[in-house]
Amino acid sequence: MGDGGDHSVNDASAAVQLSAITKRFGDVVAVDNVDLEIADGEFFALLGPSGCGKTTTLRMVAGLEFPTEGSLKIFGNEVGTLPPNKRPVNTVFQDYALFPHMTVEANVAFGLKMQRVAKAEIAGRVQEAIGLVRLEGLEQRRSQQLSGGQRQRVALARALVNRPKVLLLDEPLGALDLKLRQEMQRELKALQREVGITFVFVTHDQEEALTMADRIGVMNEGELLQVGTPEGIYERPVNRFVANFIGQSNLIDASVVSGDTVCLADGNHIPGRSDLPVGTRVALCLRPERVEMHPVTAVPAGHTSISGRLESVTYLGNALVYTVANEWTELEIRLENQPGGFRPYVGDDVAVSWMPDAVTVVRA
């Protein structure tokens, strides 16, 4: 876990530190022995399919769930069983959870009012927060009178006005349509840079995580599988699940022969670097955009290749996606739509080839 050259976090500066955190609901293990450190000022994404435990993890940091086992620290202070109102964190909820009986202004002021901040200061800070998310002029509206994007901003202002040490965001963009989502992605990232607060956000959208996060934690079935920078995770996934979940991958079954060779199902030995013991079942992870396609007789020198029959072609405009299959595997190839390129027809025999450094060996 955590390989791939990502910067390690030193204890004293960790904004959030989870040590051996486990959460059970009855017999169900929602979060299984998770260790994680999130640095101060970091934009961190918890990524995974629904039901993987990412939201439960976030809720434990918020104090809305208490861990069954383990230690949870925020800036060095143990907060495992502190109620949410005693933690220096605020949450942007999935459906925003704006108070429908209050105006935008009252929603934003709520946290400060509960902390008994002086009235004059509340007014100033609320204005500042509303300005920060560019909602001036909508102070007296109610949440029913706002669009999805505006509600999102109110939820952000309502949390940020309290100047939390960590801001938690639970699928913050899930309810928005694509265009608005992309716009908010940029804005959220800019906002985080501006306020300098640690953001921890939960998402099931790998593209969103790659676009926004400084570091990503990939979760599945309650386990934290890999933590790293977007690049580290995309380039060097630790296992089959991560390789498949982050971007698209061709996964070819193989077994380790030596430190730099693996054996494919057809008995061929090809290059593949790993430090796994000889005989380990592995998968070769080949990104569709890293492979090439050539006539069987014209494989460039230095390339490793697998031959098969072209099964289908999907025209995407800027690119073409080809599916090539043989008796033991099926590969997807994505090629830029360049004039004069190799254009085979369905049914042709072709060779799929790649440079040895395009392949990553992952645990099967």
Binding site: P84, N85, F99, M114, R158, A159
Partner: protein, 304 residues
């Protein structure tokens, strides 16, 4: 713009005739009641010229006056207490998990389901046994009256209030409460500033329902009442046995007016609280309209 689902031709006529017949069926008795409350003839059903005599009689009839005040006091007190207890019960059932929750849930519906007479007999037995015990222990001489009527009304009103409040709570996302906790509110402040403002329409609907049920009840009150005090509906019931005079008409018209006022109030509140207030008030209205008929209707009204 006419849609294809709009009835046409003879169907349209038949439907409109039907609805007028239904309204006639509803309102003709009320009309007769109101008209004859102004009749000078002692015999109900024979017009003897216009008079306000019976309304004057009503204001001078000390027993009737007494019954009105008992009714009002019982209604207000039982509503107040059952709204507090019913709301707490609704919160507990909707928000907390605890041992015996299902049993409590089922038991809470019991007063809505069981027939009034059964409930009345239970109350009668309970009060006589309970008072015997208390009398024996503390040397008292307890009588049924205002207190026993109020307690019996609270007993059935809690159920109705909690059903209405629960409908409202179920429509309110728990996430709002979590958001309040996350924004530094204590549990009490969360209730005070978030949960309660959200369920006010339900609580108000429940209160109006309780008030109406308490003012209307005859059967249970009759068994729980004692020589000391009796409510207006029970007193009127007693009057009828001694022969119907337009005084009863006048009394009924006044009761009717009070009921209409409550209904209008509830509608006004619904308008005021906007769209979000509807489900629970609808449940309340259905329960109100169901209660005086039969118990099967109540179940439909409550459980739908």
């Amino acid at each position: 713009m006419s849609s294809t689902v709009q009835p046409r031709g003879s169907t349209k006529i038949a439907l409109s005739v039907h609805s007028w017949l239904v309204y006639l069926f509803f309102f003709a008795p009320i009309f007769v009641l109101v008209v004859f409350s102004f009749s000078a003839d002692r015999n109900v059903g024979r017009w003897g010229g216009f008079t306000l005599q019976w309304y004057q009689d009503f204001t001078e009839h000390s027993q009737l006056q007494n019954a009105v005040w008992v009714s009002v006091r019982v209604a207000l007190l039982s509503t107040l207490i059952s709204v507090v207890l019913g709301t707490l019960a609704a919160l507990a059932l909707e928000r907390f998990k605890f041992r015996g929750r299902k049993v409590f849930d089922a038991l809470l519906y019991l007063p809505i389901i069981i027939p009034d007479v059964t409930m009345a007999v239970m109350m009668l037995l309970f009060f006589s046994e309970f008072f015997d015990v208390l009398d024996a222990w503390f040397g008292l001489d307890l009588q049924k009256g205002l207190g026993s009527i109020t307690i019996s009304h609270i007993a059935f009103n809690i159920s109705f209030v909690s059903v209405v409040v629960r409908a409202r709570l179920a429509g309110m996302s728990e996430v709002l409460e979590e958001a309040a906790l996350d924004l530094y509110a204590t549990r009490w402040k969360t209730f005070r500033y978030v949960t309660f403002p959200q369920i006010i329409p339900g609580v108000a609907g429940g209160a109006l329902l309780a008030l109406t049920l308490s003012l209307d009840d005859v059967v249970i009150t009759q068994f729980a009442a004692g020589p000391g005090a009796t409510t207006l509906p029970v007193f009127v019931f007693g009057l009828i046995r001694r022969g119907v005079t337009p005084l009863i008409n006048a009394t009924s018209v006044l009761m009717l007016t009070a009921s209409v006022f409550l209904v209008v109030l509830s509608l006004a509140f619904q308008q005021f609280s906007g769209r979000s207030g509807r489900p629970s008030l609808r449940a309340a209205r259905q329960a109100v309209s169901a209660k005086p008929t039969t118990n099967t209707h109540i179940k439909e009204g409550i459980y739908q």
